[in-house]
Amino acid sequence: MDLNLSAEELAFRDEVRAFIAAELSPETREKLVLGREIGKHDFVEWQRKLNAKGWAVPHWPVEWGGQNWGPMQEYIFLDELQQAPAPSPLQFNCSMVGPVIATFGSEEQKKKFLPATANLDIWWCQGFSEPGAGSDLAGLKTTARREGDFYIINGQKTWTTLAQYADWIFVLARTNPQAEKKQQGISFILVDMKTPGVTVRPIQLIDGGREVNEVWFDEVKVPAENLVGQENRGWDYAKFLLTNERMGIARIGVSKQRIRRIKELAKSERYGDTQLLDQPWFREKLVSVEIELKALEITQLRVLAEARKRGKHGEADPNSSILKIKGSELQQVTTELMMDVMGPFVLPFAASMDDEDRTNEPPIGPDYAASAGPTYFNSRKISIYGGSNEIQRNIIAKAILGF
């Protein structure tokens, strides 16, 4: 037993760290530090640098740019990105549609999409959730009607993250409405966002941001060659994809980075006759979260160690539901601590927060205060999306506890 990184792992970590330090644009980093939204440009620029280094899609098959890393290396890589902080490679491309195409797609699809997906020449968004089907994903109603060499898609998707930047969308649609179980008769189809009949309507979230959207499909005509794998087998591919999504689900690096930032700010924030960081109650609140985070990190590493034993393409580990529950809670609680730092300056709402292009208005109070409230508000989604924490509890109750 050993909690330390091996010499190779340490060397790799240092390599990643050095690369980020050398390559990440200071503007992108600053936006992340200040809790501002990063724009399309930040994502694309950074992912192309990663791709040039061979690090955009390390977990893909080697022939399509994969690195054959073990779970530990993948984890170190993600953790370093989160702690830097740097953007992660766009998950819709790299963790979702990419692996599905690489595993189940045709050769033509692989050639057409994979290099462009890895390099973020194509920006993908995810067409899974629907207004009537939140946690009950399989209850989706969007249909794809086969007509000759085309599918005609009708329906509505929602919570589509960053659809406003997207070139393509991967859609789950019902191709056989007569199927016995609701998980059957669903297909996985790739749709060019420029196809007539596709409409994107932004949904503003309570933090003022517009990161998610509704996407409407009105008689959208898609070539049948855009079907991935077999017709009516889409649910299997979606499950495969969601398993992929779970690496780094706890986002421990994000919480670590935020705690470090909080300490930095609390050192300069005056509190009565001392600094905020000198207040015992404040330190105890911080320590309390740090303890849980340390515990979660080790839990995460234990899950990874198990994954390493099972080999690369194992079943979804229900223990990752533990990581999701605790990881989301800790991300949320760090945003509360950040508000604590601000005191009354948490109140002002900076109108420019919801635009990618900032106005030149000076901040109200300290410049780091503006994002504290919005980040907290926005963080509430973390325990809702990707299977709410209630759904995660159902999964654990069944898969681990055997209820």
């Binding site: 309570i206 109140l347 509430r380 325990s383 809702i384």
Partner: protein, 379 residues
């Protein structure tokens, strides 16, 4: 022991309830009000004046109706249910209380009629929640004080016709003595301000004072003795805020339970899941505990014993803050995605409740204050 409203109070509740329903029953209207300069519609404010609620807490001699803390509680609870955006708390309850206890009666009629908005400017960059933490100097120069400095997060400050400014006329930054409250005409030369919306869709302002001259006659209360007036007024505002929070929490709990009963997933209403039912029960328990403490705050705010008053208000603020956080977070969680969208009302309750927790000292702050005071909570 009596928890009933008097007949007059019942009438008040009914009439304010009706008024708020007519102005806020349609949530889209609220969005409209927010597009006005300073974030509210003066026409609604005029209606408040007409309905008499702007004059409610002032004595008849001051041009008011002589309402007490229970009347304020009634109005504020309705404001909370409606998620009202007008600066009622800032101007009528908070600034109004400063004028009242500072015996500066002459501006009260202007508040009562809706002619003037008055806003309290006391927060500075490093003061956080400590009312005694005042640096902004007011230097005597002949028959005027000269103010120099900045005030932050002035609630209702964008629309204010007058500011009540907490200034330092003697002593050091955190001294209890030496704080002087000055009534300052917002049009005075040297004043500049920057209004902005707050996270919860209300409004505040940053205000700068550049050699602003204020006649000595504009001192509220006595020179150097502003802190007790400020403390009393803030306690009254906290009591009002507690009631507002209860109105918002009550509405949010109802809304969430209703949502659970109608929203279907996996073929059934999600309210049929026991875990979600129990969560709703825990929200209800937190709501009832908060309601009790809002009543406690209202009935303690006139306590002649300053320490007892402060302790009661702090205790209420802690309970309200805890309940607001739990109910706000859980309501959003139980709503799922729609709970975090701007177009749906639940998220706005959540945001208001979050800011209420931060205003005038968060739960931690008031816990520490109580622990330090040494006095037990009145049994």
């Amino acid at each position: 022991m009596d928890f009933d409203f008097s007949d007059d109070q019942k009438l008040l509740k009914e009439s304010v309830g009706k008024l708020m329903a007519s102005r806020y029953g349609d949530f889209e209207k609220r969005k409209g009000y927010q597009t006005h300069t300073n974030g509210f519609d003066p026409a609604v404010w005029a209606e408040y004046a007409e309905a008499g609620i702007l004059s409610l807490p002032f004595s008849e001699e001051q041009g008011g109706f002589g309402g007490g803390p229970v009347e304020t509680m009634i109005v504020m609870e309705e404001m909370g249910t409606a998620l009202a955006v007008e600066p009622y708390l800032a101007c009528v309850v908070l600034a109004g209380a400063v004028l009242k206890y500072g015996k500066a009666d002459d501006k009260i009629p202007e508040i009562a009629t809706g002619e003037a908005i008055v806003a309290l400017a006391n927060i500075e960059r490093s003061s956080r929640y400590d009312l005694n933490d005042v640096s902004l100097p007011a230097k005597l120069d002949g028959t005027a004080y000269v103010l120099e400095g900045e005030k932050s997060v002035v609630l209702g400050g964008g629309a204010a016709d007058y500011f009540i400014v907490a200034t330092r006329t003697s002593g050091n930054r955190r001294d209890v003595d030496g704080i002087t409250l000055l009534l300052v005409d917002a049009k005075s030369p040297g004043i500049s301000r920057r209004g902005y919306p707050t996270q919860d869709g209300q409004h505040a302002a940053e205000v700068s004072f550049g050699s602003v001259r204020v006649p000595v006659a504009n001192v509220i209360g006595e020179v150097g003795k502003g802190l007790p007036i400020l403390a009393r007024a803030v306690d009254e505002a906290i009591a009002g805020l507690c009631a507002e929070a209860v109105g918002a929490m009550d509405a949010l709990v109802k809304m969430t339970v209703e949502y659970l009963k109608t929203r279907k997933q996996f073929g059934v209403a999600i309210g049929s899941f026991q875990a979600l039912q129990h969560r709703s029960v825990d929200m209800l328990v937190m709501l009832e505990q908060a309601r009790s403490m809002a009543i406690y705050a209202a009935l303690s705010v006139d306590d002649a014993d300053e320490v007892a008053r402060g302790n009661a208000i702090s205790a209420a603020k802690v309970q309200i803050g805890r309940s607001a956080k739990f109910i706000g977070q859980q309501s959003v969680q139980l709503h799922g995605g729609i709970g975090v969208t701007m177009e749906y009302k639940a998220g706005h309750y959540f945001k208001r409740l979050t800011m209420i927790e931060q205003m005038f000292g968060d739960s931690d702050y008031h816990m520490r204050k109580l622990a330090a005071s040494g006095a037990a909570i009145a049994a």
